[in-house]
Amino acid sequence: MQTFLMALLQFFIILIISPFIVGLMQKTKSLVRGSVGPCVFQPYFNILKLMQKEVVLSNQSSYISIIAPYIVAVVPITVAGFLPVFDSNTLMSFSGDIIAMVYILALGTFFLALFGFDQGSSFGGLGSSREMTVASLAEPAFIMVIFTFALQSNSTNISHIFDSMRGDIFFNYPVSSTLALMALYFVTLAEAGRIPIDNPETHLELTMIHEAMILDASGRNLALLEIGSFVKTTIFLTLFSNIFMPLGFYDTNTIWTIGFSIFIYFIKMSTLGVIIAIGELTLAKLRYFRISDAMMFGFVLALISMVTYRL
């Protein structure tokens, strides 16, 4: 019972902080640019506001437009159930491993792309095409990184990887792990749709990928899609900070240590969010056909990491 409660607690922590992380990134960018910017809690208000608005659907659309937002939202939420925040007992760990996780996330992308097509506008199709291309290009690097970590910790179970990475694996293979983390950074940028791959702030057809697909969404549909993208960003940051580089504090003995672990997790996530936001500011968005180079670079890093682990 206690493990179940802890699992539930971890699950909800990831869900609850995810809009905050995105808000924090926005705030950081505004501050560095010299403007005040919206409040860090603005994404929460956005979701609440959107939920209370009615949905405007295209008369071309089918039931895909109705079910796709739910699936796009529920997929990252399910994946959030896989990830440990401070304890290796997670809510959904019985039902899959890290390879399954990659494919579950792909299910969300699949339905998001279908949603883009459903209104019969050229914007949606354009976004879907770009999104699927970027997702395809990021996939090999992602699987390669996962293979490296799975071989290092001799398991594909997320909890198991978490436990063994917390030991001394990271320091046993420092070069390999660092390179894999660098590769994962590129994958994170692509999957979470950040600069230099995609710009979440613009609505110009030249630059946008993710925003183009959800252009026709409104009301609760848009709220669900936003929840999906927030949680997805948080998932990748959690993967980064908690699974593959677990430098932190994990203790579940007393309620105080649990609280402290959560606090450390929170600090780590915020730091990562700020780092990514500053990284975004220093880079220009890549031309669309240059994204393949960035992804190839990520893949090569992952490959070198695999080879260095093996040698």
Partner: protein, 663 residues
Amino acid sequence: MLIYIFLMVLPMLFFLKPKATFIVQTFSSLVLLFFSAVLLLKHEYISISMFHSSLPYLDFSIKLDSLSLLFVMIISTISLGVSTYSLNYVYDEDYHHKRLFAFIYTAFIASLLFVVTSFNAISFLIFWEIMSTLSFFLVIYNYENEENRQGGFLYIFMTHLGTAFIMVAFILMYLKTGSFSFENWVHVGLDDSTKFWVFLCVLIGFGTKAGMFPLHVWLPKAHPVAPSNVSALMSGVMIKTAIYMMIRFYFYFLSDIPWWYGFIVLLLGSLSALFGVMYALAQHDLKRLLAYHSIENIGIILMGLGSAMLFNSNHMPLLASFGLLAAIFHTYNHAIFKSLLFLGSGATFLKTHTKDMEKYGGLIKLMPYTALFFIIGSISISALPPFNGFVSEWLTYQSLLLNNKIDINIIHIFVPLFASMLALTGAFAAACFVKVIGISFLGSPRSDGAKNANEVGKFMVWGMGFLAALCVVFGLFPHIVIALVAPITSLLLGVDVSSSTSSHLFMISTPNFSFGHLSTLGLSMGFAVGIFMLYILIKKFGNTKTRMCSTWGCGQLNNDASNQYTASGFSQPIRKIFAFFYHPKEKIYPTSRKKKYFFPILEYKAHSHDGVESVYNLVLKVFVKSSAYLINLIENGSIHIYLLYILIASIAFLVYAVKGGIN
């Protein structure tokens, strides 16, 4: 157990009444499926020697061991779905000579069944040839089309090329064992060079049939032109008979194979997978796209097979059984969802009268059942959870990851590379099916054909529904298939795979449980609970009103269907990024010369080549040219030269006769 054979040939007797043929075929498939499942689970195997002819070596023996039984199950599953579908399809499509069609169709299914049950090399070859020839007839069934004839001839040419290699392999085995019976070939000890030649001939011979890269050129030409129910059988089942024989040879007949045999199969598998899906992405002919996806999936099956061979050659039977499970599971899955998709493409073709995806659109509203089943099939083939394709792809990944337990450096470096190729394949497949669904089923109709489409007949819906239901059932309850594969692994490797992978309820795992596990049922429960929660949340706190409005057209008012994204446009980024692979030729030109400068109507044409095909074309061109040159040299049209030939020939014969007479 003559009932078995009786069931196989029974539907052929009804060919005078095509409708009755399909009904009988449906029921006999159902009975066969049921019987085979029972026999497989009860570990009862039948062997009969039917007919000893007076000709030397020729005897028809049939044996149903676990491997054959599973393939009989695959064939009868697909035949059940496809025959139900045909009840409507053959009449709606209005083929001429329906009796002939029904006869060839059932004879084709019967020959498939005999191929996987024959236990003698000669009888196997006879049925193999019958199968190839009948499928050739079915490919060219609408022989009025030039395209059909060309595809058919390429097919019959390639398949006989393959058969030649198969014969060489069989003859080599005969020379070593002195028998054509498969019984005597089991785990035969061959010397290294013979083993290599047998391996190579089997790989080329059956690889041609399976559509393995680079022997795949016939597949995307022949499969799309056949009637859709036949394409479903060919892609779903016929190419699997080649996989069946590969498993038989590499795990049952050959023993102590070197590790690099498995490595070659793995390499070819990953290349087939990647190349198949990349060519598929560039297609906008729906059936040709599906045919390229067959190449991809054969690649994935071969990857599972190759990793199982690697384990087997390193004496790790437990892990080998796991790899074999991945391969056979994917074989079954691919049979199901590929025939489902071909049937779906047949339904859209029937109603819109075109195979070009660019002319579909909005079919989800006009053909709701077909669209639903097609989407289920697409999710399965893109290996997305929680359907069946995902489970077998997960197993393939795990078996690749476990390959690292083999202590060979090349494997350590290359296998992760193959895995990332598999990842790229999976992602491209998903992109490709987003394209197919998005362009053909969503949005608004792009042509009059698509505008006037309506739902297909009820038997077609049932046929597709049956296969779609299997996609879901096998995805959520993979234990069913594992239980069916377990007797095969105990036959071939002496290890029961089900005890190591399905020890926990509703959960499949790698042989070492802590290494990785998966519960698709748990996942889908998670999805269901999550969606329910979100729904409640919105119901309680949100707004549930919906207003319909026309799509935003950026301020423009003409919202006609041509404003939508196209299939070629969808795959254009990938074509451009991988330009070194596709060699795309793109051209934009005005349709009429008069309106060249002011508001010209432009036409865009994009074309990409299959690189392998051009290599084949080049080789054939050189071959044909040089042989034509030789023929031209000999037969140069001058009657004097011909007379000279006759003279030389008669003198030669005379000399021979005189010499021979002396002896």
